[in-house]
Every structure is written in C-alpha cells, then in structure tokens.
C-alpha cells in the first residue's frame, strides 16, 4: 500500500548545529505535507506545512524542502536548541470525499547533545 513518513527512528545532534530530519512518501498524488513536533507527555503540535506546488518553505528557524521527483521531504532546524528535543513526524493530507484526513509517518526522535 501507499505509505508516508518513512523516517530514520533517531537522530542525535550537537547543540547549536543544524538538524535535518528526512521523510519519504510513496503516493505521487500527494499534494500537501505537514511537519509535527511531539514533546514528551504531550500531543503533537503543528510546525510547518508545504503544498506540492512549492519546493521550499521557511518558518522561524525551520525550513521544509520538498522534492517531488524522488518523493522526499525534509525538515531543517537551524541552531538546534535543547527545547528542540522531541519526536518529529511528517504527515500527509489525503482527501476523502468531503473531508480530508491526516496520515502520519513513524517519526524521528531528535536528541540534543550538550
């Protein structure tokens, strides 16, 4: 079946370095992607989204890149801080009749080395 969010399960980064979290998807018809951050003991929180008519979108300290040719997206976090420690999920919006549903990948746990 089609999948989204094939992640590396863990990533360890030195504080102050940039983090790059990668995600692959298989549905070439997917047109909208989202990144979520889940801190320990909390529900996931929206970080940033990107539509398939874009290849890059920037937020505050975060950038999402979308490569439709190889069905890959990445989340880049600049100057990683201890507060960035979390599990990061990429997700896909799939249309379903009059609604849409958000399908999540398996997530990458980002840990920060002091």
């Amino acid at each position: 079946g089609e999948s989204v969010g094939l992640h590396l399960p863990t990533l360890s980064v030195q504080e102050g370095d940039n983090s790059i979290i990668n995600c692959a998807y298989s549905n070439s018809a997917s047109d909208y992607f989202i990144w979520y951050k889940q801190e320990s003991g909390k529900g996931p929180q929206f970080i940033i989204d990107i539509r398939s008519n874009m290849d890059k979108r920037q937020g505050q300290r975060v950038t999402v890149l979308l490569n439709k040719t190889v069905k890959h997206l990445s989340l880049q976090i600049a100057a990683t801080q201890p507060g960035d420690s979390a599990v990061y999920f990429c997700a896909e919006n799939r249309r379903y009749s009059s609604a849409s549903k958000i399908i999540f990948g398996s997530g990458t746990r980002l840990s920060i080395r002091p």
Binding site: G5, Y36, K42, P44, S98, F104
Partner: protein
C-alpha cells in the same frame, strides 16, 4: 487558547471490558479524529468525523467504534477490549475555516494511555 480535552490520562481495563474514551474540543471545529500511537508505528488513524453524527473509518477501525452526537464531543468505544489495544490514544480536531491555509493543522489532546490486562 484552543483546547482539546481527553477525559482520562491513564486507564487500566481488563480483557473483554467495554471502554469509553471521551474527547471534547472548545474551538467549534468541524473535524475530529482518533489516533493510536505505538512505538515505531507513529500515529495511526482509527476513525474521524467531519460533522455531527458523521463518521468515517480510518486505517485501523477494527475493534473500535465512535460516536459524535454533539459537535464538541467525539467518543471512542472499545466494545470488548483486548490486550492488543493497549496503546496511547490521541484525539484531535481541525477546522476547514482557514481560508486554505494550514488545513493540516490538527489540535491534539494530551492523550489517554490505555492498558488492557
């Protein structure tokens, strides 16, 4: 501030018991979702609802049912709990009233950790 409230943070039930997980949102959102989260599997969609009394199956609906009698409340029901339903359950809501922006923004509750013995 937006708020999604799940009735119980931790529950312990026995095999065969009927379990109700309640979720309430105060944002007048049209859409509500139930996910379960298991290590290495991410969040998997069980059921969702885009209107009162409407429900749609997600990717793993077997063994679950839902109820949405009021817009703000979405209940997940395990008719006969089994040990393989031990998991973290997350409720979320979203709205279409975003003028096309951030349509994928779900607001999550803090989760209900269910253990079935």
């Amino acid at each position: 501030d937006v708020k999604v409230t799940q009735s119980s943070r931790y529950l312990v039930k026995r095999t065969g018991e009927k379990v109700f997980l309640e979720c309430v949102q105060d944002m007048d959102h049209e859409n509500m979702f139930w996910y379960r989260q298991d290590p290495g599997l991410g969040l998997r969609l069980i059921y969702f609802s885009y209107d009162v009394k409407m429900k749609e199956k997600g990717d793993i609906p077997e063994g679950y049912s839902v109820s949405r009698e009021k817009k703000e409340r979405f209940s997940l029901i395990l008719e006969s709990a089994s040990t393989n339903q031990t998991s973290m359950y997350l409720c979320a809501s979203s709205t279409l009233r975003t003028s096309g922006k951030k349509i994928g923004e779900l607001f999550f509750g803090e989760g209900s950790r269910l253990t079935v013995l």
